[in-house]
Assembly symmetry: D2
Homo-oligomer: 344 residues x 4
């Protein structure tokens, strides 16, 4: 069985394990105040071309999202997201558990538009009695989105301008950021992202690390006391250096981008194979997640040798599925899958 | 500088890194449903002599505490603990952030007594209007305690009986459980603990693992839907196998106890050295944390070469400090410290 | 200016003020444990033909909703409602502030169907990893709905059966219950409602009282410790007797139904006037809220002498508005409005 | 049976009922935006000699406390109070239910000192890792305190200076404020209180109203969006005018102070009677709550004809009890009690 069901089926890039092994007996202070965390933070600041951002390392994505959102909002405020946003669908109400409503709008290939944001804002503040409804204060987007699409520089700029005009915080969930930044049709980069939003995180869990997310905060108000929140929400890793070591390794020599690019290329092979067979797609994804719509009979056949996710029924005879590649995906495995798709 | 300031200054026991490296390219499903987690859970069940407990793996201690407590209590209920309890002092209000009051009683060398629990219970339920105060529903204890002492079998039995009589949930924070179970004056073991309480966790972060805690739940009501809580609180590790691999390694061949015993022996050497100099102790700790009361001048001298924690002022010229040993502490380092204490 | 903008523009039915005045200097114990609360609870139990329900009196609707929902759900559970449900739209995230997600489905003239409930349930529990999403555990409905429609006995029975089959709690927000039970097309009554749901409240604030809602709980699990929740959420009125006196007055001699019927009759006059003019309606309301779709020019004219709520734009030249009647609405005022509508 | 067990045994001052009756059929808009609320707010502003404060009306004390505290603090912050503070003892964890730890210090006759506040502040901010503990951000005091004592102008000034120096919010629970301001040894007044703290409330429930508390906010940050919080926490009364009418009535012609003075005088009679008999007191209360320490035999006798609160056991033969007077206490009732005490 070859697994394409998610992008966290293997451990970590071998350089990370090497570095963990080499440094194993060094003694460092705890909770992310060691030299490795400092070093990793500095590299990331340089990659963002911003000396003034704060960088924190957390263990997982849901944890990062709930920590940022609960730190950023007052109790009567909510975060705007598309209905397919991860915080709305797959975090077991983690945001609501910190007291905040998730305010949803329909997605456009997984994305939100600046106009939708403005409409939610206007609809609230033009109400005669706004205090009877949750006040929109943050915009949460994922890049790439949950269905593999990416925001263009123009789209993100427009969203950012709308947020700043209306004093809304813009936060980007970058669980798969590497795969987005290395997509062929991408025109964003870390400095642009750091400039356009108030906070974002660079996902490590799904992009080469054992675990870990690097949160970058540029908004001054949000920086304040942020370590208290990480601790309170259970996200302050005792051996914080494990995170520092991993992110330093990933961003030295741009390993992060190199392995992301590989995953996207592997995904393109799968996309091509499906295209060649005339299959349509649930979304125009150019990143490591591909959502072809396959005949149910083909799905049944492929399932015998390949693990992938059933996504949703499209019509009586066809369903959308998800194939994921990652930093760890071997080309030979993809070629086998491609062959199987072609033959199915 | 040799560090004795905490028990998480190094990485992990080398066998763990080896195992992580060997298994690195294996593909497993995520979120703790892989074979390594199953294997580790099975070993732990065997060590507890209980097939019917649920075992979950979480990343850190505060996370485990807040997840258990919020899963166990209804909103109007609180957890009883001593004032020095970790949930009361060093978790940035993590328990309150889930909505629950921490109900405190004075500690007795870090411990709570069955009588104190009964008194809190009676005081609440004998009140004419109990609904105006938080209902005690859980007892939280740490073993070893935050100041290194341990509960005897008789003490824990008495606490357990009081809890069961009054329908109180008994939860044990075992962040340093190994160091407790291997103390020379200990008469508890895993089967006894599993029998006497409703839930407890076996600490990995401070006892040989890179990170991770193994939560053992015997209470049926608390077992229900527990994975939802781990996910909601941000504690469900995507690559759950990392936890399974670590705990399987720690409990195969009783490595966990072997390395714990070593740490306790190292602590005894420090204890002996202080004793020999006639220093008193803040607590009669027999575990890996030692709290000698030293002249301030001695503290100043030792600080030049050794890292340790300043604990509290005892009188004008003396203060209590904390020395921690761990699975990773080298005997030669301890001997140097001992020598320094003797000469100071 | 005659006000039809809501159903809480006046004080209370004069019998209530009389009774408050007569009893003013009586001394009673506090927090709802006085004889008036007992008396009112007993009358309500009789009206429900259920001796075994618990009756609690709270001050307001949002307070009642958030108290019930937070008492009924564990942290990982949510309440299903239509998008137009009051808890989803007009309570400033009160439910989320207690930690729970509101799970929404599209409304059908303000109502939810048994099938929609079953679909949400199945969709969750058939998921391979349900623990990544909020567990549906309660169904929240309003009767009458937020747009004035009412559930039939058949509809409510079907919803109730679906809830019981799936172990879902059914809770009815009866902020305007009187106006629903007295509608001409209504076939529900208090005994049927008490039998079909787990908890519901009989609204007083909008139906003749100064303030106050009578919560009726039949579900045993939900009864437990309920007064703790009222206190914790700030809803335990010190002079609880004020609520007891009001509800005793409203339910003696069926005053509650008499005044509700009056309001519905007044609403029918407005409905008839709009019908006669050929205006359509946003919803087929038979209760005290009427939502005609009026030409904007007519709205402008009426606004000069009458207060009513602008609801939403329907097309370029027409908008829906809301006219409310209540126990206090004078027939002469309605006739003036009717005349104005006819002439506009 | 004559009741002295609390200060909310009767309804409301008759002038309030009269005014409610006279205005009953007036139509007003809801949620506290009517002319009566505006009028009451203006009178209170004048009494405080501050045009720039915000005045909000809420229904009850616990509700006011939890709303203010949750609006004022970020999630990692807590409120400092004495252990006997109402928020710590008798609100069923209402503050914790909004996510905040209550940080306690020992009380001094019910009061906190400026030095205690400074010590808590220093202890936190001087810690090497403050982010592991809850950040003190607010000071909560009650005046009069829960045991009837009052703050002097010098004490409150010193507390206020300490708070401002350290950027701590000072909030005063004035559930019985009238009884404090009219005590013979009081040297505070509304303008001084409004100047020294960030927010305080003037209790109506226990001082002549049917229910209701008038919250006065001078802190700019706390003013922002405050109505959202009232709504979210379930405290926004639909017929807000009921609160406006009550407070306008209480503060026109200084009725509030007149009736408070009466209650204090009645309490003095009880105090004198106990003094004459040589009974000691739990606290040096000069307000409407008196806490004499009585022989148990006397308590048994008095219980036959008088309701009062058993407070706590003092020694084997004596216990402290609480007698409350209020605006409604009749002198003839007090004289009977005094006589009974003398004869007991």
């Amino acid at each position: 069985m070859l697994r394409f069901d998610c992008d966290y089926t293997e451990g970590a890039h071998p350089k990370i394990l090497e570095k963990l092994t080499i440094t194993n007996y060094e003694q460092t202070i705890g909770y992310g105040e060691d030299q490795y965390c400092r070093e990793a933070a500095n590299i990331i600041k340089k990659k963002c071309q911003r000396e003034d951002v704060d960088v924190h390392f957390l263990v997982g994505g849901t944890q990062t999202n709930l920590t940022v959102i609960s730190a950023a909002l007052r109790p009567h405020q909510g975060a705007i997201t598309v209905v397919t946003g991860h915080v709305n669908t797959h975090e077991t109400g983690a945001i609501e558990a910190t007291g905040h409503k998730v305010l949803t709008v329909e997605d456009n290939e997984g994305k939100i538009t600046a106009k939708q944001i403005q409409d939610v804002y206007d609809s609230h503040f033009n109400d005669a009695s706004p205090e009877h409804t949750v006040q929109p204060k943050m915009v949460y987007i994922s890049n790439p989105t949950e269905i593999g699409t990416i925001y263009s520089k123009a789209e993100l700029t427009s969203i950012s301008e709308t947020c700043r005009k209306n004093n809304l915080i813009l936060y980007i969930d970058g669980a798969r950021l590497g795969y987005g930044l290395c997509a062929e049709n991408n025109d964003l980069d870390l400095p642009t992202i750091a400039k356009l939003c108030d906070a974002f995180y660079i996902g490590g869990t799904k992009v080469g690390a054992l675990f870990g997310e690097a949160l970058v905060i540029s908004n001054e108000a949000l920086k304040s006391d942020f370590r208290y929140f990480i601790k309170q929400k259970g996200g302050l890793l005792a051996k914080g250096r494990l995170l520092g070591i991993q992110f330093a390794t990933l961003f030295e020599d741009d390993l992060y981008f190199e392995i992301s690019r590989h995953a996207d290329e592997m995904a393109t092979l799968i996309n091509d194979a499906c295209n060649k067979k005339g299959y349509s797609f649930l979304s125009p994804s150019t990143t490591n997640q591909q959502f072809p719509v396959l005949p149910d009979s083909v799905i049944e056949k492929l399932k015998q040798d390949y693990a992938f996710s059933y996504w949703e029924r499209v019509n009586k005879t066809h369903s959308a599925v998800r194939f994921c590649t990652s930093w760890a995906t071997k080309k030979e495995s993809v070629l086998k899958l491609v062959d199987a798709i072609e033959k199915a």
